[in-house]
């Protein structure tokens, strides 16, 4: 029986991959478990095993081919004997349910959106980088600059980061400065605070921010409050960072957005960059900041590419929002991955001749409210966008501040677009419904401009 071998999905967020290497030839027989190819999703090379005994009849994809969609046939496979009774051949697989990633796969026309140019000379050169690379560069540059800076966390050194953010750092800085920890979040977060009290500048990576809940006591009670409790004597120059919010299909315990949680805490600074340039500039500022900073990243955005300025020392100030797109009809306020949805919505709105202004808060605490107020005084309407839950959200805070500071300029109530008020479900269709969507943002914007 001949069957197709399809390009497998090898990670929760993989949509396409590169066929790095064929390890079999046409006509070669293999057994179940033999490695037949090396496949490269965006972060690492993975081995792909045969799942049955048989012969590789034909290779359908050339070695080195890139951007192959998951489930594309890459080879034909010949097996002997009887196929298992209810074995469904891949070709007969019913259409896969709409996955949220597929729904979001069409990226917003980010390239058309203005790239970061603020405060930079007109002749600045840019290069294209992923958010993942930008974060790594930020850490590496700061570690070269200041030997008190070090990185600590689970799998940051030898594995080079569970999401490959610290790629190359162990090789450059050695195991004294790129430190693998046991799975001991509460312990190493507290230990990190101690090193900061003693004058070091730790960057503490949480594999994901979901696991920082194990350590939240040290972030809130030890890192955030000590300066105050010590009458200003003892600062805590520490960065807690890691991917935050939903990834893809990782369900309730691994899909939470902590923006509002950390933004609530006096004593902390909280940044949540969207673009690679901001990720780099903000993380560098965070590492230099003498206060504890929580840097909320996003797994889905790690592989997104943006223009990053090629300047000596690219710093983005903490506490400054950024207007991504100017507009007159409605202000969309967002941050982090919410910006992806907000920019996509702005594109759709422009087709309806609604001219949206899009603001990326970038920092959640201290929040740049003047930039929001200036915009609302111009557009007279505001929609907030975030992946987190609606109750006591960032959006509800922004809305209440607009009410206090720009009430007379408002022509419609502020609308909050958020994730749904439920734990994240696993099923593909439910997950898509639970996440904030571009359609919802467009509908909200239309409702406040009354068209």
């Amino acid at each position: 029986m001949t069957s197709q071998i399809l390009l497998p999905a090898l990670s929760p967020t993989m949509e396409t991959g590169k066929l790095a290497k064929w390890l079999v030839k046409e006509g070669q027989s293999v057994s179940s478990g033999d490695i037949i190819a090396e496949i490269e999703p965006d972060k690492a090379v993975m081995e792909f095993e045969a799942v049955d005994d048989g012969t590789v009849a034909k290779l359908l994809v050339a070695e080195g081919a890139e951007e192959i969609a998951v489930n594309t046939p890459i080879a034909l496979f010949e097996t002997e004997g009887d196929p298992a009774p209810a074995e469904v051949s891949p070709a007969a697989v019913p259409a896969q349910p709409a996955s949220p990633q597929a729904a979001q796969a069409t990226p917003p026309s980010v390239s058309e959106a203005p790239q970061q140019t603020e405060d930079l000379p007109a002749d600045t050169k840019y290069r294209s980088q992923t958010v993942r690379e930008a974060l790594r560069d930020a850490m590496a540059e700061e570690m070269r600059r200041d030997d008190a800076v070090f990185l600590m966390g689970e799998e940051v050194a030898e594995y080079e980061g569970a999401y490959k953010v610290s790629q190359g750092m162990l090789a450059e800085f050695g195991s004294e400065r790129v430190v693998d920890t046991p799975i001991t979040e509460h312990g190493f977060a507290g230990l990190g605070v101690g090193t900061a009290f003693a004058g070091l500048k730790p960057i503490v990576e949480f594999m994901t921010m979901n696991f920082a809940m194990q350590a939240i006591d040290h972030i809130v009670n030890s890192a955030a409050k000590t300066l105050y409790m010590s009458g200003g004597q003892m600062g805590c120059p520490i960065v807690f960072r890691g991917p935050n919010g939903a990834a893809a299909r990782v369900a309730a315990q691994h899909s939470q957005d902590y923006a509002a949680w950390y933004a609530h805490i006096p004593g902390l600074k909280v940044i949540q960059p969207y673009s690679a340039a901001d990720a780099k500039g903000l993380l560098k500022s965070a590492i230099r900041d003498p206060n504890p900073v929580v840097c909320l990243e996003n797994e889905i955005m790690y592989g997104a590419t943006f223009d990053v300025p090629m300047v000596e020392d690219h710093l983005v100030p903490i506490g400054k929002a950024r207007v991504w797109k100017e507009g007159n009809d409605v202000t969309l306020v967002s941050f982090g991955i919410g910006m992806k949805h907000a920019l996509a919505a702005a594109d759709e709105l422009s087709q309806l001749e609604i001219d949206a202004e899009v603001i990326d808060l970038r920092t959640l605490r201290p929040m740049d409210l003047p930039t929001v107020m200036d915009s609302v005084r111009k557009t007279n309407r505001c929609v907030t966008v975030e992946e987190g839950w609606p109750v006591c959200s960032i959006g509800s805070y922004v809305g209440s501040m607009i009410m206090q500071q720009a009430f007379d300029w408002l022509d419609a109530p502020v609308v909050n677009c958020t994730g749904k008020d439920v734990p994240m479900p696993y099923a593909a269709n439910l997950e898509a419904l639970a996440l904030v969507s571009v359609d919802e943002i467009v509908a909200a914007a239309r409702s406040v401009v009354y068209r």
């Binding site: 399809l6 497998p8 999905a9 090898l10 990670s11 929760p12 490695i35 999703p41 690492a44 090379v45 993975m46 081995e47 799942v51 998951v70 489930n71 298992a84 009774p85 209810a86 074995e87 469904v88 891949p90 697989v93 019913p94 896969q96 349910p97 996955s99 689970e154 799998e155 030898e158 594995y159 693998d180 046991p182 799975i183 001991t184 979040e185 509460h186 979901n210 696991f211 809940m213 194990q214 990834a247 893809a248 299909r249 990782v250 369900a251 309730a252 315990q253 691994h254 749904k420 008020d421 439920v422 734990p423 479900p425 696993y426 099923a427 593909a428 269709n429 439910l430 419904l433 639970a434």
Partner: protein, 394 residues
Amino acid sequence: MTETKEGLHKLLWRKGWAPPDDATMTDTKEEKEMTGAAAAAMPPDDATMTDTKEEKEMTGAAAAAMPPDDATMTETKEELLGYYRDMLLIRRFEEKSGQLYGMGLIGGFCHLYIGQEAVVVGVEAIALEGDRRITAYRDHGHMLACGMDAGEVMAELTGRIGGVSKGKGGSMHMFSKEQRFYGGHGIVGAQVPIGAGLAFADRYRGNRNVTFVYFGDGAANQGQVYETFNMASIWKLPALFIIENNQYAMGTSVARASSTPQMYTRGAAFNIPGESVDGMDVLAVKASAAGAAQRCREGDGPYILEMMTYRYRGHSMSDPAKYRTREEVQKVRTERDPIKLLRGRILRSGIAEEAELKTIDSEIKAAVSEADRFSRESPEPDSSELWTDVHLPV
């Protein structure tokens, strides 16, 4: 599906559980007296740490060095074929899950149990009705071994309404009140105090049930494990802590993360005895679990079993696994595979013929194909399910 479900249940139904109170102790005791290995694995009555450690070191070393002694097998044919069937079901189920993941029918994180089958099957072999179990995210094997329906587990993996959590939990988050399986936890180490709480409830009610609390070598470094050990010890909770030491926590080997390679000694500071067990040998697992569970049932408090085991696949589906060599994996597969080991014993001792095992192989293949079919044909949950199960009605 009803028919098939029953079929699968029958397939999995091998315990012949006796009603709790009367049969309970007799069975276990009997088993122990009969089995040489089990007797050796029994904790001393007065479990001072010195004694236990000494004994355990002996047991651990002996278990590792000695070839399985077919002559001392006291299990019935039915029991042995049952363990074979259960381990094979897990193996084939997990292979199928891996395939479905590659095809995009399973998403998110999916942690396969391939290689570790003997641990859960050996422990479940001594479980009595009413016993409870809890584990982390590498949980498919635990669910199949305690009798949960393979089709429902697989449909949970594909995120369908027929799944045990109606598609809302996924691979890492499944539960069964009926089988007393309390999850399915995604946060490393979090299941350990919860497991002690399950044991507390049994102690509170004064019954003789045990809770099997499974966690990994990586999880063993979480602080809450030690807070739990202390409470479990002072309150003599009937908790059997089972450390599944598969040598790695993601890409971190035990040697790099643990101050001691002997995780069974991790209870020493809390007066909890422990032993190291060959977790690739289902009969060794069963024997140690029998002794340890007995102790818990008799009110002597918690016990630690460190199962020396190995995972063949990556940590999850997206693990390039560069932290170990192909040869290392291959060596375990060829020399220590739990299914091959038991198969060899069964054949050598003449308990069953090749043909009989082949029949089991095809039964399992059919059962997994059926689970696969169900998991694809079951529809996605209705969108109204998004809003249900957040609170119970008051």
